[in-house]
Amino acid sequence: MADNPKDIQLTSADFAPLDKQAGPDNERIAAPSLTFGQDVWRRLKSNKTAFTSFIILVLMFLIAFGGQAIYHHDPNAQEPKYANLPPKIPGVNIHGLNGHLTQSGQDVDAYKQAGAGSNVHYILGTDYLGRDLLARIMYGTRISLEIALIATLIDLTIGVGFGIISGWKGGRVDLFMQRVIEVLSSIPQLVVMVLMATAFTKTGMASIIAAIAITGWTTMARLTRAQTLQLKNQDFILAARTLGESAPKIAWKHLLPNLSSVIIIQTMFTIPSAIFFEAFLSYIGIGISSPQASLGTLISDGQKNFQFLPYQMWYPAIVLIILMLAFNLLGDGMRDAFDPKSKR
């Protein structure tokens, strides 16, 4: 009977609003509403390796930048009479941490040999000038992280800016800018590093930063451009344009948030490569100059004594390896976390 429309009886009660709270079940969102950031954070937390890496990095940042507040040792203070002392932690009697050394096949107390009192102990030993290795490693890590931060900054400003402008403007501008990138990225990064290192007569941070500024951002620019090209024809951007929003405002309010996943993932891979390049340049002697230290110079110094005082190379090398590992693993984790395909 109800099949016949004529039989439908409508009463005013039928037009009363439904109870909003008791809406149809199938339209309810079961999961709590999450912002983009919250979602990423949640998924990052569920990825144990990435999360551990994240914690380790936070710790390393804290120690590198704030460690000196607790561990009061000047990384540049020399005590030549205590040169090349092995690690000694008071109360620990494990070979390698008790201040003993194997010299010409014999076990000797290096601290006693150097005439150091019982109150002298260096947790990670000293280098060839009697400088505290732990303090120097902390300092070196800070330099490495600073380089990483600067590389990130360059990636974010030049790389992202270049990519967005190129993608947004399109046409001839895009064509020209793409050629610039093409040329820049077919120059080996190493060569640019070397040229900059020679160009700046005083080697150090400046040359490394200059090199990163010249070539380090091309991948980022390429990725943001591709993404921008995709986004710019989407409805919400069209809408914003129709409403007369200015280009910079669109870029800032609409493009950037949508680009953020690409940007963050790429940053996670820029950082370790910047750290690696700094270490590499310092290792071959055209990076950070003395008395400044970086993980690269520490490894290079330590290598010379590797046969007798392996700790001088192992410790900075381990810190560098952990740093590289953590950034890489975090990068992998981030990529998974941002990848909609892997959404669970």
Binding site: E182, S186, I187, P188, L190, V194, T201, M313, L320
Partner: protein, 309 residues
């Protein structure tokens, strides 16, 4: 295709021209001449020596001579070796570097593929984790640290390999190993990610449904599809090898270009720095071009055309 090739070759020359120009003028800004003990030389001696190196002419003329020389295969005279042309220096040092680079690439890619495939097939098992750890370590441990460790433990302590030097195949093994770590790791990572995707795709499901053996599926379907994009990795891998070779050659006393490059930087041998820079850039450009062409040939989905990206 032809139009595309011409265009790419044009860009190759443009890049090299820019690199050559930039290096030339950067080097002109630097202090340092071929003069060994300047204080003892009289002005006329200095003039004679500078003339031998063509440094007596105005800079702009030197520039044109230099650029013109490149086309003739001349890169000037080295400052550190007397009467030795940079082109000869590069030519005679190229062999060992190429051999090491080639071996490292082959070893790295083969083992990388194996490692990556194991990781993808045995996803989320201990084998996968082990493969992942190995490949991440390959990226995280700098080649110079690895080279030192290899030389000390495998060269000196066990005596299995020659410690350093360059006289025979045995001498190439440790440096190859030190260099191979990074391409191995990159390849393994790439293959694993790619194969995980491929293995969960519909046609693999179909192949499984058809009852193909696991090996057959991996070999015939998954691996082949993952190998094609692998080709694009070769350019960046080769660039990374150039970097690695600088220290690895130094540590193992290999008479290669990388080792010479470091020395030239440290002693301000500008003609050699310029020459090697141009050589490295040309090599990378050529590799990038070659991989693109190979990619276009083996992957029918990519059409090399002159327009668009």
């Amino acid at each position: 295709m032809r139009k595309y090739l011409l265009k790419r070759i044009f860009y190759l020359f443009l890049t090299l021209f820019i690199v050559a120009t930039a290096t030339f003028f950067l080097m002109k800004l630097m202090p340092g001449t071929p003069l060994q003990n300047e204080a003892k030389l009289t002005p006329s001696e200095k003039a004679a020596i500078l003339a031998q190196y063509g440094l007596d002419k105005p800079v702009w003329l030197q520039y044109f001579i230099y650029i013109g020389g490149i086309f003739k295969g001349s890169l000037g005279l080295s400052f550190q070796f007397s009467d030795q042309a940079v082109s000869y220096l590069i030519g005679s040092r190229m062999g060992p570097s190429m051999q090491l680079g080639g071996q490292a690439l082959v070893v790295g890619i083969i083992f990388g593929i194996i490692l990556g495939a194991i990781g993808a097939i045995r996803k989320d098992t201990w084998a996968d984790r082990l493969a992942t750890i190995l490949s991440i370590l390959g990226i995280a441990v700098p080649s110079f640290v690895l080279a030192i460790l290899l030389q000390y433990y495998l060269g000196l302590k066990t005596g299995w390999f020659p410690v350093a030097g360059w006289s025979g195949f045995a001498y190439t093994l440790l440096p190859t190993l030190a260099l191979a770590a990074s391409p191995l790791a990159e390849t393994a990572r790439f293959i694993r990610t790619d194969m995980v995707d491929v293995l969960s795709s519909d046609y693999i499901e179909l192949a499984k449904a058809k009852g193909l053996s696991k090996f057959g599926i991996v070999y015939h379907h998954a691996l082949r599809n993952s190998l094609i994009p692998m080709v694009t990795l070769i350019g960046p891998l080769a660039a990374a090898l150039m970097t690695g070779s600088m220290v690895v050659e130094n540590i193992f006393s290999v008479p290669g270009i990388g080792e010479q490059f470091v020395k030239s930087i440290l002693v301000n041998d500008y003609p050699t720095i310029m020459g090697v820079t141009i050589f490295y850039s040309a090599l990378l450009c050529l590799l990038l071009l070659l991989t693109d062409i190979v990619y276009g040939i083996i992957d029918p989905r990519i059409r090399l055309s002159g327009n668009g990206d």
